[in-house]
Symmetry: C2
């Protein structure tokens, strides 16, 4: 029975995907434009942490997102860490984060020797469940002298990091309200959601600080790459300052006035990023096409359904998610698909499963658990839409 169901799913995937094998989960699309821009960068001699492509990429990226400032960094982790540092997260602070996310959301919290506090997600957006968060905070937290305190641990809850899972905008209106109510600094991890909008606002637009990623598996890639987004000029200046070596401007003196992180994106990678950004509208259109194709393919089958984000959201459909009705099929399907060169992936193991985060404070995580047990990420490169 199980085997039959798996075969049926794989047959449907095979019928709609190109014949080449293996098919990766998500690959970069590269061409002449990328070659031209990187060659131009090499010929300019400006390949390192300053240069015209960095400036251009930051300007064009900010414009695309409709957020005033973008500060380019070496990757999404470094961008999020910059946000966390600027939010004033300190050793022994707690930071609210979803349990269903890539580990890169939690690591920058650990860099500060702060403690992730795990939250459950909602099925519709896969992001943090605002209702559950509200109830959780009412149960465990209080505000003392303007600071949110976890009554169970005695620690300060400093910030709330919302992640736009698989590119689906989380319920930001509700989550931003909760952050305000509980005096939490709101940060958006938009690593997966470049090109995703809610109410005509790009993901990252609700928080004072948010992070993007341009890793090799993202909708656009600069090799490694990331960015901090902010509407606040002062925070933008600070992000720029600490993501370099925090040197005061001077023709020759080396006065660094803060601990700097050397996180700036090299100009070579920015050249690649500029080329990739030109492809983004086409990628978004192809990824919408691919999502519709997947929906159609699995419309009349009971054992597996494509996850549908709420219609009102404008998603980049970074990864398409198949939800199985029977959790016992998951590993069987993964095994069989891999054997045939279809490189499907489960969702990330929920964070409380990882040894370094197993002891973190947490809310009930039943929806996270259920999604992890039944979810399968499907190959989603824009080129697959053709």
């Amino acid at each position: 029975m199980s085997n039959v169901e798996c075969d049926e799913i794989i047959n449907r995937l095979t019928s709609m995907l190109p014949a080449e094998r293996p098919i990766a989960l998500h690959e970069p699309t590269l061409g002449q434009l990328e070659e031209n821009f990187t060659k131009d960068c090499l010929r300019s001699g400006w390949i390192s942490t300053a240069g015209a492509y960095v400036d251009r990429f930051e300007k064009e990226l900010a414009h695309f997102c409709g957020i005033e400032h973008a500060i380019a960094t070496v990757n999404g982790t470094s961008a999020l860490h910059t946000c966390i540092v600027l939010a004033g997260v300190k050793a022994n602070d707690e930071v609210l984060v979803p349990a269903l996310t890539f580990v890169g959301t939690l690591n920058p919290i650990a860099y500060q020797q702060a403690i992730p506090h795990l939250l459950d997600c909602e099925k519709s957006t896969l992001g943090i469940d605002p209702e559950k968060l509200d109830q959780h905070l009412q149960r465990i937290a209080e505000i003392k002298n303007g600071t949110c305190i976890n009554r169970q641990t005695g620690r300060t809850i400093r910030a709330l990091v919302v992640v736009h899972i698989l590119g689906i905008p989380a319920n930001m209106p509700a989550l931003a309200r909760i952050a305000e109510q509980w005096n939490l600094i709101l940060i958006e991890d938009a690593a997966e959601s470049l090109g995703s909008f809610r109410d005509q606002r790009h993901t990252g637009d609700w928080a004072q600080l948010s992070a993007l990623s341009f890793n090799g598996n993202k909708i656009i890639s600069s090799g490694g790459g990331g960015a901090v987004l902010t509407k606040n000029s002062e925070l933008a200046a600070q992000a720029r300052h600490i993501s370099t070596t925090a040197k005061q401007p001077h023709s020759w003196d080396f006065i660094h006035d803060k601990v700097g992180y050397n996180y700036r994106l090299p100009n070579l990678n920015a050249a690649l990023a500029c080329a990739q950004l030109q492809r983004l509208p086409e990628h978004l259109s192809n990824k919408r096409k691919l999502y519709r194709k997947y929906r159609e393919t699995f419309s009349d089958i009971e054992t597996a359904k494509i996850h549908q984000p709420p219609e009102a959201l404008q998603c980049n459909h970074w990864l398409n998610l198949l939800l199985l009705s029977d959790k016992n099929n998951r590993d069987l399907l993964l095994q069989e698909a891999h054997a045939q060169g279809l490189l499907l992936r489960p969702l990330w193991n929920p964070m409380q499963q990882l040894p370094m985060y197993a002891q973190c404070p947490s809310d009930d995580l039943s929806t996270t658990q259920q999604l992890w047990e039944t979810g399968i990420c499907l190959p989603s490169s824009p080129g697959l839409a053709a």
Copy 2:
């Protein structure tokens, strides 16, 4: 009088340097090879944190240095941070470092919420003065239960980070002996000294863990780039593990068993690094030529002398250092040289001058102070030797 001396120095520089202006302190040399390798990388589709160029660069770099393992990272700071983490440096530990260094030596210590402990340098190598360090430790430290303790602060002194300043190998035989005697983990910051040897051993070969940099101003550059060097297979595996996302190998599961730093060098930058590494022998030869040219140019003038590393050392001459007899001439010379497009630089402001490190424990730093007051770094790109 001062003005006359400055003019004399600038005249001599002008007589031996090419006519183009500005002349930067140190620029990358890039050509067809770099274009070919990066184009090939783009065409392979493997631009991100894994790929054949990363493997190749690590292998060729390790071979060049004669050190078993090289692990490529996004920059020198991340490489050194990886060393510091693997050395087990924890919050509130002290780490011995030179006061005369780039701030990037100290920042990774601060990332761990540990405390730099500043040491003075010796004139001959510009690196940590072993004799002074020995006396300092005898004065302030003791070994308790196998751990070196600062009796004045009560804190553990965990490690000794030696820096090969301007590419000159520090006195490693003596410093390694002191580290052993005081149970300090020895780390070499070889960011500036790729291609520098002492007793036929490449810098980085004395420590269990050392760090290189391929930033835009280094002897070779991959845009951003760095590497951890180690002879120890276990440490190499750990460096590789935590410089990625610390994921256990599995076809689809996401079990990360440690806090990872996402520090791996993208394959695109590794392609550039592979091309640059081929140029290294030529760069080294050109830089030796340039050093000799500078020595000759300033051989018969009393007010300014080129710093001469001990003859027995094989230096990469990353930056050539001019030492003025009168410290009052330094800023005047810098100002006048910049006005004429000669982008000279002083040495880095000693670390105790920076606000975040002003309160660090320290030895007497008089040699550091004197060198900083009278030292001028001269343009040292290999291309200037022609």
